[in-house]
């Protein structure tokens, strides 16, 4: 039963909270939707911390897509052996993980020590930063240390298929029962993080300005249609 809860009920609830929350915030609270930068207060620490963290987390995201979303069979059909995969995963993933953790530690120290930044850091800010830090630290530990000292865990036969099965609405929760606890915990916390996205400043991850390079530099809008974006 606990298997069903943690690997079926919990993921769906958290994802539902995330999706409904994001839609609600986008529709009704968009004025609060922003990347809450504190660069105006402090620049030196942010320069290193923010850049390293954000690029790290983009690499980590790509790594998760490669490890969890892309099936093992794809790698096999491309002729990538399990050994090659794991070397790449450990080196690449480890590097990304270290960037995320290192950047976040810098940002957290900055948040706690810079007087201007500290005053304006609320519960949500700390919650998001610390939760991301814990999840990332666990991930980095699993990649760099657990994988190399205990066993190079083949998550592509258990976690991968289970995660993909969530999206086909046929969750294979029994696949998760044999997964080491550390991995299970990482996943549960990650889903908790997903659920918190709409309620924290993490929403800005959905604000990638992808249209910017293609759009006209100058934007004209008439007053009547000021809500609608208009191209020149």
């Amino acid at each position: 039963m606990t298997g069903i809860f943690w690997w079926v009920v919990f993921p769906y609830i958290t994802l539902a909270v995330m999706i409904v929350g994001l839609l609600y915030r986008f529709a009704f609270r968009q004025v609060s939707w922003t990347a809450p930068s504190t660069e105006i207060f402090e620049k030196k620490w942010l320069r290193v911390g923010s850049t390293v963290f954000h690029y790290g987390i983009i690499f980590a995201f790509i790594g998760h897509v490669m490890g969890v979303l892309i099936p093992r069979s794809v790698y096999h059909s491309l002729g990538v052996s399990d050994e090659t995969y794991h070397v790449f995963a450990i080196v690449g993933g480890g590097l990304a993980g270290l960037m995320v953790v290192g950047g976040l530690v810098l940002l957290l120290i900055r948040k706690m020590t810079n007087r201007r930044v500290r005053v304006h850091a609320g519960f949500g800010d700390y919650f998001a930063v610390i939760l991301v830090l814990i999840v990332a630290a666990m991930g980095t530990y699993m990649t760099l240390i657990y994988n190399t000292t205990v066993v190079a865990y083949e998550y592509r036969t258990t976690i991968g298929p289970w995660f993909r099965s969530l999206f086909t609405f046929n969750p294979q929760y029994h696949l998760m029962e044999t997964v080491p606890f550390l991995f299970q915990f990482h996943i549960v916390l990650a889903f908790l993080l997903f659920a918190s996205i709409p309620f924290t400043h993490l929403v800005h991850m959905f604000s990638l300005p992808a249209r910017y390079p293609a759009r006209a530099p100058q934007q004209y809008r008439s007053r009547a249609n000021y809500k609608k974006r208009e191209r020149t």
């Binding site: 968009q30 004025v31 609060s32 939707w33 922003t34 990347a35 809450p36 930068s37 504190t38 660069e39 105006i40 207060f41 402090e42 620049k43 942010l46 320069r47 923010s50 850049t51 963290f53 954000h54 690029y55 007087r115 201007r116 005053v119 304006h120 800005h204 604000s207 300005p209 249209r211 910017y212 390079p213 759009r215 530099p217 100058q218 934007q219 004209y220 809008r221 008439s222 007053r223 009547a224 000021y226 809500k227 974006r229 020149t232």
Partner: protein, 499 residues
């Protein structure tokens, strides 16, 4: 031709007394909320001086505005790809230290202090951290009226450009005031810098606004604007800027800074321009040609062809009439006495300035008080022409000289009318060099000196007929409680024209 209307402003620096009333009324109207303490949509700078924020004209530091690279107009701080790569940290953005840490005073201590031997003190309290500040070291107008003198003045990027080192010798010091608001540019680099497309220029009146819903706080507008007139609200984490008091101008009223201007230095009016030619005008090679190329974008509102095109573009007759009576068009285009601030930024700014006259350095003898003797006097004014040129004409002193000659001619002529004793201006060399006619000078004198509210501010009301598809007929029959209004089908049926 794609004709658009722009509500623009001219400030006559000759009349600015540096009282900061504009800044204060603007602040009370717009930026008296947490997060906006350091924002001055309107500020008045003493020049020479570092300005606000400090050294905002230092393009190497903040990389604002446009630059011509291989004949192509690009943002100085880099195009979209550079911006996306730098989205996690904006290297060119000013921090609060370039502005100042806003503070208040512990007034409570003054009121509730127990009886004591010494007078109670209201210590400064930071509005950012809430902590006491031992010693505020910079603040709004810290350098007012050249305060800080020889330590502060050299920070002015325009001073650094001057060939002749303007020593802070007592006899040679000069100063002027420069009130600044958002320029509501024709080619705004803040708009082009915004990854989210939140900044936009309004079709109806050219006012540049920030969509507070769409803004994601990427902050590229802050330094993308070379005038540094877009601010980041640390409370809402969104950008804010001068909105040309659009709720007032839509109602035909002057902006609050203009309304309350003690010296009555501000003028507001409509200018028509050809939006299709903006990019071309901003792309001319020579920075000193930008002033003329911007002038070429403006359209003559009395030209029947322009009127026809304006009507076609949905500009109504009250706007066309306002454009014809526009004080801005007169000063900027007709008489050419108003100049754009830093045209070399290539944003085609729309708040223009009449450069100030200043005391003449050398004494003019009584018997020299003849019209043409004022020509060399223009070259000996206290404010170096190079300095004014660095601000208003990309360094071209001939532009400044011509304006100063016009203003001097105006003074000479009006003085002669009032007290006499001078030779006629009509045939003088002064008038010839100034390139203006006596009639124009008299019109100018009226607008500069005696014009009343309705002449200084020719602002047509917002074009409400452009609001929404239902149109005004529908809104007239409706009430604010939208849900119980008759359906628009019903109303449009009533007003439908019979075919």
């Amino acid at each position: 031709m794609r004709i658009k209307a722009q509500v623009a402003m001219v400030m006559n620096l000759d009349k600015c007394i540096g009282c900061h009333t504009c800044s204060v009324t603007c602040k009370n109207t717009w930026t008296n909320r947490p997060g906006t303490e350091y924002m001055w949509y309107n500020n008045v700078e003493t020049r020479p001086g570092p300005g606000y924020p400090k050294e905002w004209e230092d393009l190497k530091k903040f990389k604002g505005g446009w630059v011509l690279r291989n004949g192509k107009l690009t943002l100085r701080a880099g195009g979209p790809i550079t911006k996306l790569a730098n989205i996690f940290y904006n290297p060119n953005m000013a921090s609060l230290d370039s502005f100042y840490e806003p503070w208040t005073y512990d007034y409570d201590n003054l009121i509730h202090s127990p009886k004591s031997k010494h007078l109670p003190v209201g210590r400064p309290v930071s509005l950012i951290t809430g902590e006491f500040m031992d010693k505020p070291e910079w603040g709004p107008n810290w350098d007012d009226d050249l305060a800080g003198g020889s330590e502060i003045v050299p920070l002015d990027p325009n001073v650094k450009k001057l060939q002749e080192h303007i020593a802070m010798e007592y006899e040679k010091t000069f100063m002027m005031y420069l009130p600044r608001i958002c320029e509501h540019c024709l080619n705004p680099s803040c708009v082009a810098s915004c990854p989210s497309g939140a900044l936009y220029k309004r079709d109806e009146d050219g006012i540049v606004l920030v969509d507070q819903d769409a803004c994601r706080g990427w902050r590229f507008c802050m330094n993308g604007c070379p005038y540094h007139k877009v601010y980041y609200n640390w409370n809402t984490h969104k950008a804010e800027k001068c909105n040309f008091c659009y709720p007032r101008t839509e109602a035909g009223m002057a902006t609050i800074c203009s309304e309350t201007c003690v010296g009555r230095i501000r003028y507001i009016g409509v200018v028509f321009y050809d939006a299709d030619r903006v990019k071309e005008a901003a792309s001319v090679e020579d920075p000193q040609a930008l002033y003329e190329s911007q002038l070429s974008v403006f359209l003559d509102p009395s030209d029947p062809e322009v009127i026809k095109e304006a009507r076609k573009a949905g500009i109504n007759d009250s706007w066309i009439d306002a454009a014809q009576r526009s004080p801005i068009y007169k000063m900027a285009v007709k008489w050419k006495v108003a100049l754009p601030l830093h045209p070399e930024y290539r944003t085609l700014p729309m708040v223009w300035y009449v450069p100030p006259l200043s005391p003449i350095m050398n004494h003019i003898e009584e018997n020299d008080l003849q019209t043409d003797h004022y020509i060399p006097a223009v070259d000996q004014m206290r404010i170096p022409m190079e300095y004014l040129a660095s601000l208003l004409s990309a360094g071209d002193t001939s532009v400044i000289r011509r304006v100063l000659l016009k203003m001097t001619a105006m003074r000479v002529h009006m003085r002669n009318q009032a007290v006499g004793g001078m030779d006629e201006l009509r045939h003088s060399k002064l008038l010839e060099e100034a390139g203006i006619t006596v009639d124009e000078i008299e019109d100018m004198a009226r607008l500069f000196a005696v014009a009343k509210y309705n002449e200084r501010f020719v602002i047509p009301t917002g074009r409400r007929e452009m609001d929404g598809e239902e149109g005004l007929h529908y809104k007239q029959g409706a009430c604010s409680i939208e849900s119980i209004t008759p359906s628009s089908d019903f109303m449009s049926h009533l007003f439908a024209k019979e075919e």
